[in-house]
């Protein structure tokens, strides 16, 4: 399998606190990796370092070429644009034509039960709806790597099922998924590799033995 990202002896501190401690890790094409752990354990930090959004204090991050990341953040920002306007712009930046964007937005908003909300300003949307917009913008076109930071935050059960289905479709299309989350059932549904963040290091976990309590994930 092709190695897409390699971390070599990466460390990161925030306000004097060691978040990542000499981490070495490789991410391969078509892998679906989940990072779990307590709040503040470095899950989001390691995702951002893998994407190149954060510079490590020490160590190297090596990408095999210019990778296209689509990012679903933990808290999608509120803007004055309507959901439809925002998605249209993202589609245009991705190189879709006007008709393609329209078609894709309509299809995805139907799938996520958002058809009636495309005309609503994003600053007026609920947390869960905003998060759905965050997911939809990442699905407009196919990236090399999908970065998911607590992607199901605030979403209803039906939308969660749609999300899982979409993720598994992307996996079949060779998209690599990197996810930070607390939900064991989500990890079991879409991930093939689990790391539990402990004391600044990602420790390989056993998805097969994962039970519905994030602090009880068994470590190999």
């Amino acid at each position: 399998m092709k190695e897409l990202i390699k971390l070599e002896n990466v460390s990161k501190k925030y306000d004097g606190r060691l978040i990542l401690d000499n981490v070495s890790l490789s991410i391969y094409e078509n892998q679906s990796v989940a990072f779990t752990g307590h709040n503040g354990s470095g899950k989001s930090t390691i995702l951002k370092i893998l994407a190149g959004l954060i510079t490590p204090a020490q160590g190297k991050v090596i990408h095999s070429g210019r990778l296209l990341f689509h990012y679903v953040p933990e808290r999608f920002p509120k803007t004055n644009l309507t959901a439809g306007q925002y998605l249209k712009r993202m589609g245009q930046i991705d190189g879709l034509t006007h008709i393609e964007v329209e078609k894709k937005c309509n299809q995805l908003s139907r799938d996520f039960f958002l058809e009636d909300m495309l005309g609503t300003p994003m600053k007026s949307l609920s947390k869960g709806t905003l998060q759905k917009i965050g997911v939809i913008q990442a699905l407009l076109t196919q990236p090399d790597i999908l970065l998911l930071d607590e992607p199901l935050s605030g979403q209803d059960v039906d939308s969660q099922q749609v999300f899982i289905k979409k993720m598994n479709e992307l996996r079949k299309n060779n998209v690599t998924i990197l996810m930070s989350c607390h939900e064991p059932y989500l990890i079991k549904s879409i991930s093939d590799t689990l790391y539990v963040m402990e004391h600044g290091k990602p420790v390989k976990g056993d998805i097969g033995n994962l039970i519905d309590s994030c602090s009880d994930a068994l470590i190999q």
């Binding site: 959004l53 689509h70 990012y71 803007t79 190189g95």
Partner: protein, 253 residues
């Protein structure tokens, strides 16, 4: 060859998409209202004296436009959220391209306001006749005037963009520092006369007060003066943008 054309087309497409996104984001807020209102009032005060020298009026307008674009650059930095920035930087696979798109958005805004100034001047001539300016207006006046206005606007927005939260972390400090720099830009020549040694630090401040010196007493725009002004303003904007880009790419999220 087909691959090169396809790649160039992709670059133009996403850059166009990014610029439209910045325009839509900015104008969906009301942050542009105050700078624009203040500029219209300033323009009114310039054109309330008749007859007025053409060169003199465009130089004054360019100095006011510089200040307004500093303000616009600061408010444009307020509009963009850090998370949105991350999404887009990853999407276009390059922080440099993202920040270039923001600069181009502000250049387009500066060009639009510069055009507004010229149209206002033209309308004044149409309404008030030949008595409005101290001499008949030439096409070259509008051409050179546009160059001066645009480049002053570019300098202003470049300075304003240095208030980005990852360049100056605290918002209050950012606004104070940038406005201090803008004020210094307006009085730089006077300051240098009194304190010549300050040239060591003040070279980085945009050469706005130099414009009064370059065009002092001129009834017509001369090629030499315009070339000198254009070179100084372009160099200053280039340095400010280079500083911005270097710091933003080095200080990631």
């Amino acid at each position: 060859m087909n691959n090169c054309i396809r790649v160039k087309k992709e670059r133009v497409t996403f850059m166009r998409g990014l610029i439209k996104y910045h325009i839509q984001q900015y104008f969906k807020t009301s942050k542009f209202v105050m700078p624009l209102a203040v500029f219209i009032i300033m323009l009114y005060s310039i054109y309330s004296t008749r007859p007025i020298g053409i060169v003199e009026s465009f130089v004054s307008a360019s100095q006011f436009l510089f200040l307004v674009m500093v303000w616009t650059g600061i408010t444009a930095c307020d509009v963009e959220d850090s998370v949105s920035e991350q999404i887009l930087v990853l999407r276009v696979k390059s922080a440099g391209k993202y920040y270039l798109s923001r600069t181009l958005f502000l250049v387009i805004l500066g060009a639009a306001i510069s055009t507004f100034v010229l149209v206002t001047a033209m309308l004044q001539v149409v309404i008030h006749g030949s008595g409005f300016f101290s001499r008949p207006v030439l096409t070259a006046d509008f051409l050179f005037g546009f160059v001066l206005l645009m480049l002053s606007a570019f300098c202003g927005s470049s300075l304003g963009e240095l208030s980005h939260p990852r360049i100056i972390r605290r918002r209050k400090n950012a606004v104070l520092i940038i406005f201090l720099a803008a004020a210094l830009a307006m009085i730089k020549m006077v300051f240098l006369e009194r304190f010549p040694f300050s040239q060591v630090i003040l070279w980085v401040i945009p050469p706005i007060s130099e414009m009064s010196m370059i065009f002092s007493g001129q009834e017509y725009f001369s090629m030499n003066s315009i070339a000198q002004a254009a070179a100084l303003l372009t160099a200053s904007a280039a340095v400010l943008n280079a500083i911005k880009l270097t710091v933003l790419i080095k200080n990631r999220f």
